[in-house]
Symmetry: C2
């Protein structure tokens, strides 16, 4: 098992990564004030994993709140509904919430924890690969507004993060692969050795080899934890994490989050950002060929689907959070392992989007 300590302004906390890490759940403290726990999850995850989790907590009083499944329910109504139940359960400032699930569960639970009685503890137990390497780390919480994703949220750090790779045994292939895209991203933007290691070990990773998977998740969490701790409120370095996400988010918006998983959209976005990088920086064409080869081995898509209207895609790009003074900005690579954010003209984006895929 790996343990990462993360230092944020108010406090430090641990991220545990490995198999059977649930034993690390810290549910008591010295003054015995935190004795009430509320598990927040959805029905599918409850059916799969609730019993396992509760077996680790047999000495504690745990209540459960089941929320509706999926991105459509990640909204203020669900927040209000959860808070209503917390009030009924007489939860006070010493109650701890436990988020068991993917990114949606973690984001909602973190947001509720950040504003119920002005902030209570919460523990992240991510059950998807994507949530394990991305959403559960860094303290971004939030829900959607009808007019925009994650428009309502806070920066709020969990009390601890427990990443148990055992949960992944029941994760369907498409969701597993979606997580791989973010793992590959960390190599591209921050660690050339990790990127080459991933290229070498992609078959083992696709076969969910335990040793390789643990190393890949650990390296990813380490990178994400470091960059977010250095920029808790997302005003600088954290922007690099957006590599592949400019086009990625636009594709998710255009397909209404129905036809494409997050990692699939990011995969297409990374290929596009690599093409832009080649145009602007002196990078070898081989970098692009290698990336496409790696993503294809991971069964990830690399091209914008043919049915996407490019002019609509371009107009949606202007809603991107990196846009400054109506100027598109992209995270590009100067070389593998080194990312930068630069303004890019919409003409250049349009021209490159119109090029035939290689």
């Amino acid at each position: 098992m790996h343990t990462l300590m993360v230092d944020f302004a108010h406090r430090s906390y641990s991220i545990y990564i490995g198999y059977n890490t649930l034993s690390k759940l810290t549910l008591s403290d010295n003054n015995q004030r935190h004795t009430q726990f509320v598990l927040i999850t959805n029905q599918t995850i409850a059916n799969l994993h609730q019993a396992t989790l509760l077996s680790y907590l047999s000495n504690h009083k745990i209540q459960t709140i089941i929320i509706q499944e999926g991105e459509n329910w990640k909204n203020l109504d669900t927040v209000s509904n959860i808070i209503d139940q917390l009030m009924t359960m007489q939860c006070d400032r010493h109650t701890t919430l436990i988020a068991l699930g993917g990114g949606v569960i973690g984001d909602i639970t973190g947001f509720v924890a950040s504003c119920y009685r002005r902030g209570i503890r919460f523990i992240q137990i991510p059950t998807t690969l994507l949530a394990q390497v991305d959403a559960s780390i860094g303290g971004k919480t939030g829900v959607n507004h009808p007019k925009g994703k994650n428009m309502i949220g806070t920066f709020y750090q969990p009390y601890q993060v427990i990443i148990d790779l055992k949960w992944l045994d029941t994760l369907p292939d498409p969701e597993y692969i979606s997580g791989l895209a973010e793992i590959i991203k960390y190599g591209l933007i921050g660690d050339v050795h990790f990127y080459h290691w991933l290229s070498t070990n992609i078959s083992a990773l696709m076969n969910r080899d335990q040793t390789v998977l643990m190393e890949a998740v650990y390296k990813s969490c380490q990178y994400k934890a470091n960059i977010t701790a250095s920029d808790e409120y997302d005003t600088g370095a954290r922007e690099m994490l957006n590599f592949g996400h400019t086009i990625g988010h636009a594709l998710e918006t255009i397909t209404k989050y129905q036809d494409m998983l997050h990692g699939e959209a990011v995969s297409i976005g990374m290929v596009f950002a690599m093409k832009l990088s080649l145009k602007i920086y002196d990078m070898p064409q081989q970098n692009l060929t290698d990336l496409i080869h790696l993503l294809r081995q991971a069964k990830l898509p690399t091209d914008v689907p043919k049915n996407i209207d490019l002019s609509v895609l371009l107009s949606i790009l202007f809603q991107d959070k990196k846009v400054l003074d109506k100027q598109l900005r992209f995270v590009l690579l100067k070389k593998i392992g080194q990312a930068v954010v630069i303004p890019i003209s919409s003409d250049m984006v349009h021209a490159l989007l119109s090029e035939k895929a290689i």
Copy 2:
């Protein structure tokens, strides 16, 4: 004019106190990114003060959101409604909100600022005495849940606080007096000299004498800023600010926030806490007599109204946030200017509540 600098973990900011302090409004910064401003207020305040404020901002693009008036509208629906309008106005992470009004406006605006796109700037311009000396300082934001007041909120510091005593010219007497209760509280819990100064100057304060009022507000803000900066997340010293509020909040709950202003309820609560202090600590009876005399000069009530059912009042006390392990806890005085929090048996509270008023 007085200027207070307050140091919180993430940042420092200024509180300006005096007459015509609006000139201190800082609406631009070096990188010129913060160019969009949204004023949040209600119709009554807009009618009284919006024109004055806008005259200071004639070079800026300011939009206004008018929200419904009163505590009943301090809820998640109003938050959602404001966020909807911010989205329509295309507000981004560099938009600044300006809260113009009393505690309700400040609490809602602060909460929206803390969670719109995970946090944007907001400026507090409190227009009531109560908000000037209490709610606008310390970073507590929030809205009510049907089952409890301020159950949904955050700790989020404003970008600056502009306290213009000129607004008070149009403040009705009962609301002005309500603010005096909190000012007297600061003397009682933290500064015996200030308390004696208030006793000497109460007539001038009742006449809204500018020099005396400025000194009273400045001392109050200074005390509140210091204690909240030392305990941003309300886990220790900040509890002292609850002097008089245990009984006070219960009275507000029992009268459904209809029959009693906050300062009136706190005034009754302070007299009760002083009686308890006399019983427990070796304080002279004169302290109680003097306090009642001072509060009566300020036209504040000192006794629990006769129509209040004491057993209901007692049961509501157990919802107080200071309750620990089902034990009531009160802020008491060891002497004027020195407060402590101690457990008190409900029997003693009941006995003292049943005693005839002096």
